[in-house]
């Protein structure tokens, strides 16, 4: 069902809701397209006219500065008009429903919604109610999915490490609550990574995590042994208050990524983090700012990947008579 909602009858991407079930062909097409957008960001005039006259609404029901900014820059570099709406602070407090908010914006002739919501499934719900010529990109829904983050992570890995089938990858941290982890796991499984591990205390691993096609580790050094890629996840500090974690110091001592623990990985292993980082909690500054960190390149690539997704979703849809050169 999910698949039908994302891919139209012609096999084209119409919404991006989740990486679950997205064929590797489509993922690779996005990565290849993103590759060509990298160069646009390096030019004097960082803009191409692809989405001129299109309206993109960043609809954020949950606060996020970074993700919203990268979507905004991506849309602007494609020459779209961008509206940012932080809805938590406006309509829903007046009692308007989610779908009413969207219908109103749709009536203003929005072409693409970029939606973030604290509830899993919010993006699907909206996408189901959109008319065929209005599109949606999920920018994170609850614990469910954050597909563009997953795509930019695999883009980063491919750029720095090459072929996926030779790589051992470890995801470290709050796998249980992380939509990034879910999207990363789905993308890496689809692209056929050689070995995929998750490293976390038992309380932060989903039950039966093996069914996702990953190998669980509770010992950091064992889990990092001989890996090519270390993907750190953000620990939300509010989890500390609950029963999931002992204390910040204790967590850092056991699961914080330090230069010392990174020794277990391959000498040329790279380190990713989706941001924002908690230095001294899940990652040590020496690693975050060190030579193996690709955390800032991830941010740069994220713009190109989001440009690619937007261009693929909005391009090639008008059926007008006329011939191509």
């Amino acid at each position: 069902m999910t698949k039908d909602l994302q891919i139209d009858a012609g096999g084209r991407l119409t919404h991006l809701l989740t990486l679950e079930g997205l064929p590797s062909k489509t993922i690779l097409e996005i990565l290849d397209t993103a590759e060509s957008f990298i160069a646009v960001g390096e030019r004097e005039i960082k803009k191409v006219p692809l989405l001129r006259g299109k309206t993109v609404v960043n609809l954020f029901f949950e606060p996020s500065t970074r993700t919203r900014t990268t979507f905004e820059i991506a849309a602007k570099r494609l020459s779209a008009d961008v509206i940012n709406l932080a809805v938590a602070a406006s309509s829903t407090t007046k009692g308007e429903t989610l779908l009413d908010t969207v219908s109103n914006l749709e009536a203003m002739r929005t072409d693409l919604f970029v939606v973030r919501h604290a509830e899993s499934g919010a993006a699907h719900l909206i996408a189901k109610h959109l008319p065929p010529n209005v599109h949606l990109i999920n920018a994170g829904d609850g614990r469910h999915a954050h597909p563009t983050q997953g795509l930019l992570d695999v883009f980063t890995i491919r750029r720095h490490k090459g072929a996926f089938d030779k790589l051992k990858v470890a995801l470290v941290g709050d796998v249980l609550h992380s939509r990034v982890a879910r999207s990363d796991i789905q993308a890496l499984r689809t692209l056929g990574v050689k070995e995929l591990r998750v490293i976390a205390p038992k309380t932060l691993l989903p039950t039966a995590v093996e069914t996702l096609g990953v190998i669980p580790f509770t010992d950091m050094r064992e889990g990092l042994d001989d890996v090519d890629v270390v993907m750190m996840l953000r620990i939300q500090r509010e989890r500390m208050a609950g029963a999931h974690l002992p204390s910040e110091q204790e967590y850092f001592r056991v699961y914080g990524l330090t230069s010392d623990k990174l020794e277990s990985a391959k000498p040329d292993a790279i380190v990713l983090h989706p941001g924002p980082m908690n230095r001294g909690l899940e990652i040590d500054s020496a690693v975050a700012d060190g030579p193996r960190s690709v955390i800032l390149p991830q941010v740069t690539y994220g713009i190109a990947v989001r440009m690619a997704v937007m261009a693929m979703i909005l391009g090639g849809r008008e059926e007008l008579p006329g011939r191509r050169e």
């Binding site: 097409e29 060509s36 160069a39 030019r43 004097e44 690619a308 261009a311 391009g315 006329g322």
Partner: protein, 166 residues
Amino acid sequence: MTRPDVDLDATLGHMAEGLRAFSVHKPVMIGIHTGGVWVAEHLHKLLGIEEPLGSLDISFYRDDFTRVGVNPQVKASNLPVSVDGRHVILVDDVLHTGRTIRAALNEIFDYGRPASVTLAVLIERDGRELPIEAQIVGTKMKLAKKQHVKLFGPGKLSLDILEAGA
């Protein structure tokens, strides 16, 4: 499929002569992906241009994006030298509707403001839809509407005329 009777080596030599006569100061040569780059590689060598050859993929500037979408095989444009204030020689294989050249000019101007742009094409055929003409023309062809001329390369170049739908 027919092979037109064109001596491509002689044609390229004739284009190089034409460009030499332009005698602009330190030109920057840019080929349009894919065929234009192949032609430009030959001209660049024949003219002994010192600046490295640039290449342009105009996919992001096409006027039919809303109809055909983005091609994942887009090559990154690569302009190793700033075009600001420079004399640009823009090279393509076939000048047909003129839409590719319109897109290429728009893209070049997003990189800077050249002093001048000279258009050199291997083949000029009929069917212009925009007021764009080439200053340097290798050879002219008159083709039926459904016929297309296609260049094969790189390295040793060859031409074929294809019938649409055939």
